[in-house]
């Protein structure tokens, strides 16, 4: 199934990380895109919706923004 929920405008996904118990329909996945329009999107896989997001302009739940758009890696 296609889910058009990621934040930003870049579909070039440079890094991905998931909770240890995450599966296709449960848990959370962290998805980082890179380049212009990059974002860090955190997806709730239960509802397949955006749980949290960070861009250069948008602050997420931790009240932070991305410093740059060239995201290399994620670890959480």
């Amino acid at each position: 199934m296609d889910n058009i929920v990621l934040e930003g405008t870049s579909n070039f996904i440079s890094a991905i990380w998931a909770e240890a118990t995450a599966g296709l329909n449960n848990g959370k996945v962290y998805v980082a895109s890179t380049g212009t329009g990059a974002a860090l999107s955190i997806i709730d896989l239960n509802t397949k919706t955006l749980y949290d997001r960070y861009t250069k302009d948008l602050k997420g739940r931790s009240n932070d923004k991305l410093i740059q758009e060239d995201i290399e890696d994620i670890s959480a």
């Binding site: 889910n3 990621l6 996904i13 296709l24 996945v29 895109s33 890696d73 994620i74």
Partner: protein
């Protein structure tokens, strides 16, 4: 070096530089600028201008380039072009570092060690019990850095990526993959030759997933580290699996026994066009886009 008093500078015919403020003093080694040494700069009354030279790039200092991060309960470990930084996860401050290793390509932390992959010096490691320091006085851990030099070692000193399980390492180098176990008397080495491997992921059961980007693009899985590399157990190739054709694979992550059948794994794939999630037990998958 040839220069004019106007707004243009020709530097040994290498670069043409526009100097906004030409009221410079003279080119001097920038020994007095923080940690930036051996860089030449034009210094004006009002601001610094940096000289572009064939061996020196623009910028106030040589910029660190971040290659990879990993995390445990205490620290974030960063692999950078200028070494390793270790950051306290609670304070977000750097507490220790290693800057004697040039071009760290990858880091991976087991329970006891931080393994450091380098571009040219193979693998090194630090015992995690030696990590200390604070943000006021970050500690240089150079004296605790050891070479990974055991009975079984990597085939190529240029490391692209490290992952592992326990003290079993999976190392992607410029020549392929080496699986290394040097524990006690049961050590072994398993190798795959390919210049197209970019990353790997090893589960706690020593299943190995790896990315190839070349003649064949995709994710491959070996159910055991002692295996027939010519015949991967599972192939998820672009164009003949859940991954469409012409898709680049950038990163993978695996969660174990998270399939709806509670036995198999879930594979998370970062691609050049969206994020793919595959339940390996049912073969169902989802794609996430903007």
């Amino acid at each position: 070096m040839t220069y004019y008093s106007g707004s243009l500078l020709v530097l040994d015919n290498i670069d043409l530089i526009n100097i906004i403020d030409y009221n410079y003093v003279k080119p001097v080694p920038s020994d007095d600028v923080g940690d930036c040494t051996n860089y030449y700069m034009w210094r004006s009354d009002r601001k610094f201008e940096w000289v572009d030279h064939e061996s020196i790039g623009w910028g106030a200092c040589e910029q660190e380039h971040l290659n990879q991060v990993c995390i445990d309960d205490s620290y974030v470990y960063t692999a950078t072009s200028m070494g390793v930084d270790i950051i306290d996860v609670y304070t977000n401050n750097k507490v220790s570092y290693v800057d004697s290793i040039v071009e760290v390509s990858s880091v991976w932390a087991s329970e006891e060690r931080l393994y450091i992959g380098t571009a040219g010096e193979g693998i090194k490691y630090i015992d995690k019990v030696t990590i200390s320091g604070n943000e006021v006085l970050p500690i240089d851990l150079e004296e605790y850095v050891c070479n990974y030099s055991f009975q079984y070692s990597i085939d190529c000193e240029f490391v692209k990526y490290i992952h592992g399980s326990g003290e079993t390492l999976s190392v992607v180098t410029y020549s392929g993959i080496n699986i290394l176990n040097n524990t006690d008397s049961i050590g072994y080495k398993s190798s795959y030759t390919s210049t197209d491997v970019t990353k790997c992921f090893m589960t706690s059961k020593n299943e190995l997933y790896y990315i190839e980007q070349g003649e064949i693009n995709g994710v491959f899985k070996m159910k055991s580290t002692l295996c027939d590399w010519t015949s991967p157990n599972i192939l998820y190739t672009s164009g003949s699996s859940f991954l469409p054709g012409s898709l680049g694979v950038n990163d993978i992550f695996v969660t174990e026994s998270t399939s709806s059948n509670t036995v198999d794994n879930t594979l998370f794939v970062a691609t050049s066009s969206g994020a793919y999630i595959l339940d390996e037990g049912t073969a169902n998958f989802d794609v996430y886009y903007t």
